[in-house]
Amino acid sequence: MAAEQKMTYETWPASPEKQTLEAKNKFLGFWFFLGGETVLFASLFATYLALKDKVPSSDMALAKDLFEIPLAFMMTMLLLTSSLTSVYAMYHMKNFNFKKMQLWLGITVLLGLGFLGLEIYEFNHYVHEFHHSFTSSAFGSAFYTLVGFHGGHVAFGLLWITTLMIRNSKRGLSLYNAPKFYVASLYWHFIDVVWVFIFTVVYLMGMVG
């Protein structure tokens, strides 16, 4: 099946994301890429755990002084929900319902933006209220690197999904762009899973002590 062919609801296959060889390659390659990303984040987690609460003087803020459940919980809910909305989007993609897919992707992007906004507020809060910055201690460096890397991934994911939405807004779904949407949503799920670990390891475990 040629990728650029015009499709209808009837001709739209069950898994439009893996119809062509290019799509299959993209699908598999992206999974491998996520495998590499997993190692990347695992390394960052290891660094964080090694340097957690390692500060030069005892009057500096530690994890248990910094983190608050409500904010972290709100961020978690936003991102988890956005993962769910991107599932809806892919559901509509599989049903060749372009408008609804765009709608749900739009909601996903908004939720992601909300998350990012809270994260920026959070970082700002730590820097100004607690003097806990990237350069203030090894703990600060490790914290901002881990959470910041994740935040960077969120930002990149938002740019990516938005680009896809705008680029394809006029021309609807095809077997050429279906895998692109699919892979972007896969990426979004991955970011979400990483956040679940950050929430647990950094925030929950941080507050326990």
Binding site: V55, P56, S141, T145
Partner: protein, 622 residues
């Protein structure tokens, strides 16, 4: 290189190579760039040996020596050995599995240009205030303390070229999984393809650790973080772990493809199928797996305690078992065979004793309590040169001779090839064997000079003499390449006469679409099977039809160039006001070209059936 290129004129050829997404041309790019860096690394090696020829020598100064030794190691591993291996993987693997290209031709090109710009960036340090000087391992306390921008060049350059390698690894994995010809099951794949597969998996899981390590180093040096500053709560041992979690698999990333090349050579030139193919596959996978479990044996003297040391010691020893399996399988591949000593076979045969010597010292090093004596002494230097030169470099020479006709359509001169071999073989053992003893006699590694009266003079001089033999060998090889290229005598599909795998069933060099019709694979050594049944070539697995090909693209070059620019900005951010703008411009170039790639549809093009019928096995341009 090709006749087609000569007709096109220099500018057009250059543009063609700058934009190519053809795995065979990318292979040539890797070969040229990797070859260039190999010569550079070799030159640095010569400086090292000249400096150490006599005690208290002042051929180079202490600081410069550290830069040379750092760049020798870094260049040889990241910019010579790996790209040269990638050259062969690119040139041969898609042909061996009967594919028309790799899974991601665009990313293949991107991977090359990232590597290339990373390598160029790293080497520009020589002209911009000094090269990195903390060893290729760049241990954190020293690399943080190092003044100037040398280490910044190291961290940023490797970050860029490392990204290219990672992309290459994913590409090969997907290619092998998704694009095998009909009938090419996993257990019919040639050993070199298997090695490529396992190596790519190692790259995928090992390189991110280096990426993180380098990020931490970059942040500490350029952006004020405190990962490696004990006074601020940091810990330098983190770097050692990350470096070796990457660094040890890296050893296997280098040596497994070398094993793959030798497996092909032993079978071809013994006219015999690989002995114990399935145990070879098993051993390769096992080595790859164990390669991740043993990184801390590089850190026995770091003070991890006896429990960790003992565990890593025993785990490391275990790797000797699959490696031993391979050695014996190669020997028994030759047993009962009909051996011809062509140049590739000479390298392969010489590899066995050389590599076994490196392997047994590896077991000695694995034994933690002894390692306290060997660690960071010339014994280690001898060991890893036996493994990397005796294993990897031998394989690169062997592979160059073996696959030269397939890549360029003409054979390297056998006589000169054998001279190269003899000179290099003598030089190699002369240089490195004695270094085992230097280490045992108490000579630490990475010293810019040694004092007289410690019993180290003679051995060091002998070692230097050996290095000149190796240099002479490389010069003969270069002459060989020039002569061969000038003569350009064309050869047929199977110039060695005993080719067993698919790449020997198609013309040398292959047409840009590789296979007019995908071949039907009926077993291991697919082409050999057909030959034994008296057939001329492979049976096609599909009717002649249109072939879908990817378009050339300049975007990979631009993406890589953007990162190259951004790296300068990041590095000079603290020194000059233009640092930040340059960083931003560089990132904009990269992200912008990625954006263009993303929004511009690229469906490729088709070679039509009729054109294929018209042109029998000639290069076709659609």
């Amino acid at each position: 290189m090709s006749t087609l290129a000569q007709k096109k004129g220099f500018g057009a050829t250059l543009w063609d190579y700058l934009t190519t997404v053809d795995h065979k041309k990318i292979a040539i790019l890797y070969l040229i760039a990797g070859g260039f860096f190999f010569l550079l690394g070799g030159l640095e090696a010569m400086f090292i040996r000249i400096q150490l020829a006599v005690p208290n020598n002042d051929f180079v100064s202490a600081g410069l020596y550290n830069e040379i030794l750092t760049m020798h190691g870094t260049t040889m591993i990241f910019l010579a050995a790996m790209p040269l291996i990638f050259a062969f993987m690119n040139a041969v693997m898609p042909l061996q599995i009967g594919a028309r290209d790799v899974a991601f031709p665009f990313l293949n090109s991107l991977g090359f240009w990232l590597f290339f710009f990373g390598g160029v960036f790293l080497n520009l340090s020589w002209f911009l205030g000094g090269a990195p000087d903390a060893g290729w391992t760049s241990y954190a306390s020293l690399s943080i303390a190092s003044e100037g921008h040398g280490i910044d060049f190291y961290a940023l350059g490797l970050q860029i070229s490392g990204a290219g390698t990672l992309i290459g690894g994913i590409n090969f994995l997907v290619t092998i999984i998704n694009m095998r010809a009909p009938g090419m099951t996993y257990m019919r794949m040639p050993m070199f393809t298997w090695a490529t597969f396992v190596t790519s998996a190692l790259i995928l899981f090992a390189f991110p650790a280096l990426t993180v390590g380098l990020f931490l180093l970059i942040f500490d040096r350029m952006f004020g973080s405190n990962f490696f500053d004990p006074a601020m709560g940091g810990n330098t041992i983190i770097w050692e772990h990350f470096f070796w979690i990457f660094g040890h698999p890296e050893v296997y990333i280098l040596v497994l493809p070398a094993f793959g090349i030798f497996s092909e050579i032993f079978a071809i030139f013994s006219r015999k199928r690989l002995f114990g193919y399935s145990s070879m596959v098993f051993a390769t996978v096992l080595i790859g797996f164990l390669g991740f479990m043993v990184w801390a044996h590089h850190m026995f003297t770091t003070g991890m305690g006896p429990i960790a040391n003992a565990i890593f010691a025993v785990a490391t020893m275990a790797i000797a078992v699959p490696t031993g399996i391979k050695i014996f399988n190669w020997l028994f591949t030759m047993w009962g065979g009909s051996i011809t000593f062509t140049t590739p076979m000479l390298w392969a045969v010489a590899f066995i004793p050389s590599f076994v010597a490196g392997g047994v010292t590896g077991v000695m090093l694995a034994s933690a309590a002894q390692d306290y004596q060997y660690h960071d002494s010339y014994f280690v230097v001898a060991h890893f040169h036996y493994v990397i030169v005796g294993g990897v470099v031998f394989a690169l020479f062997a592979g160059a001779h073996l696959y030269w006709p397939k890549m360029f359509g003409t054979m390297l001169n056998e006589f000169l090839g054998k001279i190269t071999f003899v000179l290099f073989f003598i030089g190699f053992h002369l240089t490195f064997f004695i270094q085992h003893f230097l280490g045992l006699w108490g000579m630490p590694r990475r010293i810019f000079t040694f004092l007289p009266g410690q019993g180290l003079e003679t051995a060091n001089f002998v070692s230097t003499v050996g290095a000149f033999f190796m240099a002479a060998a490389v010069i003969v090889l270069l002459i060989n390449v020039v002569i061969t290229t000038v003569k350009n005598e064309k050869v047929g599909n199977d110039p060695w006469g005993d080719g067993r795998t698919l790449e020997w069933a198609i013309p040398s060099p292959p047409p840009f679409y590789n296979f007019k019709q995908l071949p039907l694979v009926r077993g291991l050594d697919a082409y050999w099977l057909e030959k034994m049944e008296g057939k001329q070539g492979m049976s096609p697995a599909e009717p002649l039809g249109d072939i879908h090909m990817p378009n050339n693209s300049f975007i990979p070059f631009v993406i890589s160039f953007g990162l190259f620019v951004a790296a300068f900005g990041a590095m000079y951010r603290a020194d000059y006001s233009w640092g930040i703008p340059v960083l931003i411009v560089g990132m904009l170039i990269t992200l912008g070209s990625m954006f263009v790639r993303s929004i511009k549809d690229d469906h490729g093009y088709h070679i039509h059936k009729e054109d294929l019928e018209d042109n029998n096995d000639k290069g076709v341009k659609a």
